[in-house]
Point group: C2
Chain length 237, copies 2
Amino acid sequence: MTATDAKLKKAERTRQRILDAALPLMLDGGYEKMTMRAIAKEAGLSPGAAYYYFETKEHIINAFYERTIIEHEQACRKILDEERNFAKRLRRCVTAQIEISRPYHEISADLFRVAADPNHPLSPFNEASRTVRERSMAIFAEIYRGSRSRVPKPLDAYLPGLLWLYHMGIVLFWVHDKTENQSKTDRFIERTVPLVINLIRLAKVPGFSRALKATLQLLDDFTWLKLATPKASTDKK
Amino acid sequence: MTATDAKLKKAERTRQRILDAALPLMLDGGYEKMTMRAIAKEAGLSPGAAYYYFETKEHIINAFYERTIIEHEQACRKILDEERNFAKRLRRCVTAQIEISRPYHEISADLFRVAADPNHPLSPFNEASRTVRERSMAIFAEIYRGSRSRVPKPLDAYLPGLLWLYHMGIVLFWVHDKTENQSKTDRFIERTVPLVINLIRLAKVPGFSRALKATLQLLDDFTWLKLATPKASTDKK
DNA sequence: GTCTATAATTCGATAGAC
DNA sequence: GTCTATCGAATTATAGAC
């Protein structure tokens, strides 16, 4: 291990320490209570040092978000390994995200606020966050590809993006869900998954192929909806 | 005119002066540059006094938003007076909102950010902003009611909310539209209005009535989507 | 060069005098 | 209603330690 490696390791540990210090503060009193001063104090360093690791307070929020993406990815890998039915894969993966996020529901509005600003470098619809977004979108591509279902050719290419969008809709609903333990969201998923399945079935009816193409054409305006075609595997594991 | 009235008038003038001072600052350098200090200086009063008129900086943003709602209302009144065709009414009213907002496109992200926080008192989906929201939603009720078109009974009650939601979708698209003069949004409207019309037609097909009802049932979870039934006219003009 | 701490700046918001 | 302090918190600048 080189000296640089050792330092990276230490830096990464410090980074995690900051995040670990920040989360309880956030859960306690929300975004306002989670001050950089308090975080730094809790993590045992100075505010200035904390800024060395996170450009702004919002970058800390973003790190929380990335953590849940990774957790979701792992949860989905398990699900997709043992389930082949498309509807069930979809329902369980969407539910998994909600389960993972449940402890953070109270603070989700703050996470969401950052996401909503289209000019914000940390917005999930932004070019800058492409990597994270595609990682999440890839899960939804896999939900379909690994299932037994097949959709008409023109829809095929758009499906991952559309499923991801559906998933974002669920999250949006969940963020707004003020019911005890967000029980409405669970019901919402139960009801909308069959709806999605039916819509896909509808796409197979030959009479709708014209309308389908017109609709899909609209989606071309959303660049962030397209999953970059995976290059030949030059990436390392 | 009583003394109180005179004071109200003066207070209102001061309020407007603050807003008029704030907007150029905002257009110039965005939300950050528009500091309460700068606004106050420009409007010729102290920061403390400015806070007398606007609880927070975000309340100033909200006032901008309300201004455009009122402008949109007036624009739509004209349109709805001279046009009876449903599709055209819809397209022109939706377009009107975009036209009115065009000068503010650069700062729209900041307006939107406030809207996105579900716990924020100023969010358009919040109970607190019901009045403003319903005012806007009432326009969409009128687009339908004053037209020659009629939809199946179950859909009828939900249509205003759904049209308003469609309108919010357009705005969302527009906020994200980085093209010159937001030309993509114009195209988006041209393409989606027929889509909406077709969806409504689809709702009339007897075979879909079951699916329609299941879909509409979902909407009951969105309390903000319902337009309060207008009370007997106790409100004054 | 890679971190960390301290000091200075800026800005939103508030308290209390007039 | 309006002003004059001030506070507290996010950043930023800078200088120094490893």
